[in-house]
């Protein structure tokens, strides 16, 4: 190597004496060279300082990596739950934890969204769908534990308005035609079963075309309820289970949409085939079938499909 290797900045600074001016020439072109050389000298110490900062940063990073523990992968049950379960499952999970000591990791969303996520390999153990068609489709695709589909309830939709609303709910769905209404909150019918039910009911009453321009679509039924509960929409078509939740019960009133106006919303739970926690998943399904859990669910408007069918005197089979 022709030149000794080393820190170029240092080497450059070593050459500085070549430019060392005598005091007499100060202020001439040599002055510039002098300033240059000083800049180089400064740079040398700066390089060291930067290095120590970088080192300190790496030590800090290493500490943080150790400090933040990696999440444990197993032991908890990962449940994908339809958004209408947002409130009841808080109580159910607490009860389950109290009885068995096992924790639930709950994710709420629209059933259609979970359906496509599970198809793409989402690592859920259990799927509580607001519409049995999604578990059925997963079954057809071989993605669920055979024979685990369990109809836990039949969902109902209601028209919900805030307390200060002047709308007369006794008119039923026809109230949506009221000209004072600017926005109607509805769940996205493409992937949220409650949205599909709302649209079906509107079609049944032949007012869909008149009101569809006023729709604001929630990604799932909980977001839809949030739109109207927060006063951003004037009226919403939401799940009965949400209307009965503490956060909404005191803030507004509702009227149930006649269940014959839309195809039944049979809700079903299923164990996912890729689950690594099937024993616990089965245990939770068993827990859901226990009488006290059924009673708890009923407080939120989730009645067993058979009971409801008996109530209405009709025996519409799940499609």
């Amino acid at each position: 190597m022709p030149y000794p290797a080393g820190d170029p900045a240092v080497q450059l600074s070593k050459r500085v004496p070549l430019f060392e001016p005598s005091d007499k020439h100060y202020g001439s072109g040599v002055d510039l060279a002098m300033r240059d050389s000083r800049a180089f000298l400064k740079r040398k110490s700066a390089v060291k300082r930067v290095n120590s900062i970088v080192q300190a940063a790496f030590v800090l990073l290493a500490c943080i990596y150790i400090w933040i523990p990696a999440q444990a992968a197993a032991a908890e049950l990962k449940v994908a739950a339809a958004a209408d379960l947002t409130f009841v499952f808080k109580d159910v999970a607490a009860q389950f934890e109290k009885q068995t000591g096992n924790q639930l990791k709950l994710t709420y969303g629209s059933s259609g969204n979970f359906f496509s996520q599970i198809q793409n390999g989402a690592p859920f153990d259990l799927f509580f769908s607001a519409d049995i068609s999604f578990p059925k489709k997963l079954e057809a695709a071989g993605l669920i534990e055979p024979g685990t589909i369990y109809d836990y309830a039949r969902g109902e939709i209601v028209i919900w308005v805030p307390n200060d609303s002047k709308l007369d709910l006794s008119k039923g769905l026809a109230v949506l035609l009221d000209p004072s209404i600017r926005k109607i909150a509805v769940a996205n019918p493409v992937h949220a079963p409650y949205g599909a039910a709302a649209v079906a009911a509107l079609h049944h009453d032949k007012i869909y075309d008149q009101v569809k321009s006023k729709f604001v679509m929630g990604e799932n039924i909980a977001q839809t309820a949030q739109f109207v509960q927060s006063g951003n929409a004037d009226v919403g078509i939401v799940a009965l289970s949400l209307a009965l939740a503490p956060a909404m019960k005191t803030k507004g009133r509702y009227v149930v949409v006649p269940p014959d106006d839309y195809p039944p919303l049979i809700q079903a739970a299923v164990i996912i085939k890729s689950s690594t926690n099937k024993e616990l998943a089965r245990q939770f399904l068993k827990f859901i079938k226990q009488p006290d859990t059924v009673a708890l669910m009923a407080q939120y408007g989730f009645t067993l499909p058979e009971a409801l069918a008996a109530d209405h005197g009709s025996t519409s089979a799940p499609h």
Partner: protein
């Protein structure tokens, strides 16, 4: 306060910004020094995540990592589980999403280094790597710090991509931004508010530190001519 979401977000952001430093630096170097005529194409690709909606990015990543893609299948054969809806998948998606935030400040800083110093370093026999470590890197430290911190802060606040690729699974892919969304949907405005304030304060502090370093409030980076 959802502490598991907070720790998860911090972990994700730290992993991503560190990886960004390792992957982004060579890219930024190449962008600053290449004389390739069509380098603008590469620059556009790097900047794409800035202008694309997160849904587009999320969708592409989801498809690319899903169990029907070659990458997804390869990963599945290695580890036994897919990439989508896992922490690893989130890291990859966030890496792509925050790439411009890391690469652009670094590339800008690299290209502002005085070429004479780089040439001098080579003339004195330093290898390219050594020139980078001892000359280019120290002189562009503020750009590197900016890139590092911006990618960190951006990952903290990323929402759309994380929602699409991660799928909101508690303790695995539910970051603070998604936990807030979740809280709002559950009418838990107080909880959403607490986490939103925390995120805002944290982001403010992070950015303030970066800008203070850049504006030389404290002398931690060398003078540039």
């Amino acid at each position: 306060m959802d502490w598991s979401a907070i720790f998860l977000t911090l972990r994700l952001a730290l992993v991503v910004c560190t990886a960004e430093l390792i992957i982004g630096t060579p890219i930024a170097l190449w962008l600053s020094f290449t004389r390739w005529r069509y380098k603008f194409l590469a620059e556009s690709v790097v900047a794409l995540p800035l202008v694309l909606p997160p849904t587009v990015l999320g969708f592409f990543v989801l498809v690319a990592l899903g169990s029907n893609s070659p990458i997804g299948r390869w990963y599945q054969s290695l580890t036994g589980h897919g990439l989508a809806f896992t922490f690893e998948g989130l890291v990859i998606a966030s890496l792509i999403a925050s790439m411009p935030f890391a690469v652009q400040p670094m590339a800008a800083a690299f290209s502002q280094v005085d070429r004479n110093l780089i040439n001098a370093s080579s003339m004195l026999g330093a290898s390219r790597f050594r020139t980078f470590v001892r000359v280019i890197f120290p002189l562009s430290i503020s750009g590197v710090v900016t890139g590092f911190v911006l990618s960190f802060a951006h990952t903290l606040g990323e929402f759309g991509v994380v929602l699409m690729v991660g799928g909101n699974i508690p303790g695995v892919t539910r970051t603070v931004a998604i936990a807030i969304y979740d809280r709002v949907q559950a009418f838990d405005y107080a909880g959403a508010n607490r986490m939103a304030l925390l995120l805002m304060a944290f982001s403010f502090v992070t950015l303030s530190i970066t800008y203070s370093i850049n504006h030389r409030v404290w002398a931690v980076s060398p003078m540039q001519r």
